[in-house]
């Protein structure tokens, strides 16, 4: 792979992402795995389609890694996001963060997923029995640049 942040149209392998952050000085690795859920608010999803502005999305994932490094200097981060058609239970995203101590691994991993939902140009289209729709979770829906660190809370 050679890099820690990537978009792929192939199934994601958790172990590959974890391997990128495993190191002698980490005692804790937190991973977040986003999977395709069947029911949302009682509505049944048949499958999802993810689309990315690939080059920019990989840059933004890497930028999230840099933001994490600023906040948690000892953290190592790797993030992979899948695109294309995903079935129920398929993995859409894998985040892995290693840190010397456990509290930081949870916080940094959480920071990563919140930031992905703000600044990374990836979109999902839900396909239901009675239609389909592009989903927009984005917090910043008006014009403007998503602020660094808004997700930290």
């Amino acid at each position: 792979m050679g890099k820690n942040y990537w978009i792929s149209d192939k199934p994601l392998v958790i172990q590959e992402v974890v391997d990128l952050v495993t190191r002698r000085n980490a005692g804790a690795i937190n991973t977040f795995i986003g999977t395709v859920r069947e029911f949302t608010k009682g509505k049944r999803t048949l499958y999802l389609e993810y689309e990315a502005y690939k080059a920019m999305a990989e840059k933004k994932l890497e930028e999230i890694g840099h933001e994490i490094k600023e906040k948690w200097p000892e953290a190592e981060t790797a993030i992979a996001h899948r695109v294309g058609r995903l079935e129920i239970t398929d993995i859409a995203v894998v985040i892995a963060v290693s840190t010397p101590h456990r509290a930081d691994s949870y916080e940094a991993s959480r920071y990563a997923i919140e930031r992905i939902k703000e600044i990374v140009p990836i979109w999902k289209k839900e396909h239901w029995e009675d239609g389909e729709h592009w989903i927009g979770d984005q917090k910043e829906t008006k014009q403007g640049i998503p602020a660094k660190g808004d997700a930290s809370k």
């Binding site: 600044i119 979109w123 927009g136």
Partner: protein, 77 residues
């Protein structure tokens, strides 16, 4: 010339993944106006914009050769 990229719902509204326009010297805000009024791509108004893969504000002035992407509300993760 400038390449203008559309994604997701915006791509569907535009009917194209990208178009070429010469918008050198214009602002992003002006380009949004043009796309919305002349091409009926009004979802650009709710979209963020990126020039050469970096987010920019509406005031940003476009230069020759810049690639402009309109980023509708993202939903990764």
């Amino acid at each position: 010339m400038n390449q203008i990229l559309f994604f997701a719902g915006l791509r569907e509204q535009a009917g194209e993944e990208s178009i070429e326009l010469d918008v050198n010297g214009r602002s992003i805000g002006e380009l949004k106006q043009t796309l919305s009024s002349r091409y009926a791509i009004d979802k650009v108004k709710e979209s963020m914009a990126a020039v050469n893969e970096e987010f920019v504000q509406d005031e940003e002035i476009i230069k020759e050769g810049d690639t402009i992407a309109f980023i509708p509300p993202v939903s990764g993760g």
